[in-house]
């Protein structure tokens, strides 16, 4: 019943985007987020939309996968949209009973909703085309300069990759425990808020117990294989830039400049 979670899930396919260096994709995502917040006029948004569509097509990931990530934020979208729509002062363009919609409100609401939708689609594009391991590899490599300042970059990225690796395991475990308790007559759907919260105890306790058990097993297995942190550790597949990665960097910068210039004029 939890198999439907897609946020942060990798979709295996063979596309240009899948083969790109994770550092490029991280950088592109960062630029994309900046650009989304620079853009305020229709023309820059058209450019962003065109770029987004092009990337979606290149990724070979079914569009439905990206939309699925949106389901979780539907409420947030509605609330943000409605508040911006009705609460912004300005020239009234529309009236529904006591509620007034101003021109600025309308514009803000549209920008807000478009930004959030694009943000989710864009970032889920990155996680859909990059395996969690690549992602943390890329992050570790990109943040390496910080380790000279004493930041535990390797440790953080190791923790991240372990955390990511454990999400599907814990999801499966939750599913199993839920089923086991349902087989003992547990009911998670009926009753008020307190009854339902109480009904979660038989799931949460075994889940925590198993998470700790797994964590200590993993720590033992890592030590048994002489893991001692990042120092002197080499990679089986070190990240190297290819020609396509360089082209991608150029395109990303061109995209940033184009949107920035179009936003200014």
């Amino acid at each position: 019943m939890f198999r439907e979670i897609t946020l942060g899930q990798y979709y295996p396919a063979d596309s240009v985007l899948h083969r790109l260096d994770p550092r490029v994709k991280l950088f592109a995502t960062l630029i994309y987020i900046i650009v989304l917040f620079i853009a305020e006029k229709p023309i820059p948004f058209l450019v962003i939309t065109a770029a987004l569509i092009a990337v979606i097509v290149m990724s070979k990931v079914p569009f439905s996968y990206m939309v699925r990530g949106l389901r979780g934020i539907v409420m947030l979208l509605v609330i943000a949209g409605v508040f911006n729509l009705f609460m912004t002062p300005g020239i009234v363009v529309y009236k529904i009973g006591p509620f007034e919609i101003s021109d600025i409100g309308l514009k803000n609401a549209i920008i807000m909703v478009v930004r959030m939708v694009y943000l989710i689609i864009g970032t889920s594009l990155m996680t859909l085309t990059t395996t969690p391991n690549q992602l943390t590899d890329g992050l570790e490599r990109s943040l390496r300069p910080l380790s000279r300042l004493g930041a535990p970059v390797h440790e953080i990225s190791m923790m991240m990759s372990i955390a990511l690796r454990f999400i599907p395991i814990l999801v499966e475990e939750t599913d199993k425990i839920m089923k086991a308790q349902m087989a003992r007559g547990a009911d998670f759907e009926s009753g008020g808020l307190i009854t339902r919260a109480k009904a979660m105890v038989p799931i949460l306790v075994p889940l925590f117990v198993s998470a700790f058990r797994r964590a200590s097993d993993l720590a033992m297995a890592m030590e048994a294989r002489c893991y001692h942190g990042g120092e002197g550790r080499t990679k089986m597949k070190p990240l190297t830039y290819k020609a396509s990665d360089r082209v991608a960097y150029v395109l990303i910068m061109a995209f940033l400049v184009a949107v920035a210039v179009l936003s200014l004029i």
Binding site: I177, A180, V201, V209
Partner: protein, 285 residues
């Protein structure tokens, strides 16, 4: 009390890149009081199959009837049925959560809507049934040994007094004595109360010794279905699917190949012993 599966198919993650057909057109009829063993290698669909029997998984297509009622019917009370078809999952000790063993065993009966007194009685009986030592009743379930945890967890399902009991690999991860104990316990429950028992296992020896009907699963389909001597007479077919017959059956087949006139298909040590003694008396040796 019968369970009938009518052309049941189940697909995991339908219409995605990860689509897997875990059950493929399975039709079965499970009668009252049967002791059934389900075997098959990993991924053959045995766990998926048993999870359909108490409605934990909903078939993608096909129907399941419990005592003649369609369990997917809107009016059918699935929650109630789940307590009648008890299910002991693999590593059931992972579901323990209460502060004491006794409280944990009471969880099922309480969910059935029984009073605290009745639930206490049920828990007491169930723990006695699994030979759980009295002195540990008030201990935290997390401090028990593996075998004791398993017993406590099985008692948690037994306390609901199910009519059908499904056990998914109940002996996995136990030492040989623990395995014997659990299997003897299951046999006793079958003999004393006559309830239907479905045992998922991949130990051919266990299955041959305890059950009276074997269902062999392969790639989501029922591959063989019948009494142990019938199923284990298909050595070639089973080996083709990566399965085996009990050691003793191999031995008897080898003796037969040496020209010793062995009758039938002995699948347990006892049966083999009887056959060898018979031949000995007849003067073959």
């Amino acid at each position: 009390m019968s369970i009938i599966l009518d052309h049941v198919t189940y697909t995991y993650s339908e219409k995605t890149a990860y689509e897997i057909k875990a059950l493929d057109d399975v039709s079965l009829s499970i009668k009252d009081g049967e002791f059934i063993g389900i075997i098959g290698h990993t991924g053959s669909g045995k766990s998926t199959l048993v999870q359909h029997l108490n409605g934990l998984l909903r078939a993608t297509s096909g129907t399941i009837y419990y005592n003649g009622q369609d369990i997917y019917d809107k009016d059918f009370n699935l929650k109630n049925m789940r307590t009648k078809v008890g299910m002991v999952f693999q590593y059931p000790e992972h579901q323990l959560f209460e502060t004491t063993v006794f409280e944990d065993v009471k969880y099922g009966p309480k969910n059935q809507g029984l009073s605290d007194k009745e639930a206490t009685n049920r828990a007491y009986d169930a723990l006695a049934d699994v030979n759980f030592p009295d002195e540990y009743f008030d201990q935290s379930p997390f401090e028990l040994s593996g075998g004791q945890k398993r017993r406590a967890a099985i008692a948690g399902v037994l306390a609901m007094e199910p009519e059908v009991l499904i056990l998914d690999e109940p002996t996995a991860g136990l030492d040989p004595k623990g395995q014997r104990d659990i299997l003897n316990l299951i046999r006793r429950m079958h003999e004393s109360s006559g309830r239907t028992i479905i045992l998922v296992s991949h130990s051919m020896e266990d299955v041959a010794e305890y059950v009276d009907r074997i269902i062999v699963m392969d790639e989501g389909r029922v591959f063989l279905d019948g009494a142990p001597d019938y199923v284990f007479s298909h050595t070639d077919l089973l080996e083709e699917k990566g399965l085996a017959v009990p050691q003793v059956t191999y031995l008897m087949e080898e003796l037969r190949a040496k020209g010793i006139p062995i009758e039938g298909q002995p699948t347990t040590l006892e049966m083999a012993e009887k056959e060898i003694l018979r031949l000995h008396k007849a003067g073959v040796f």
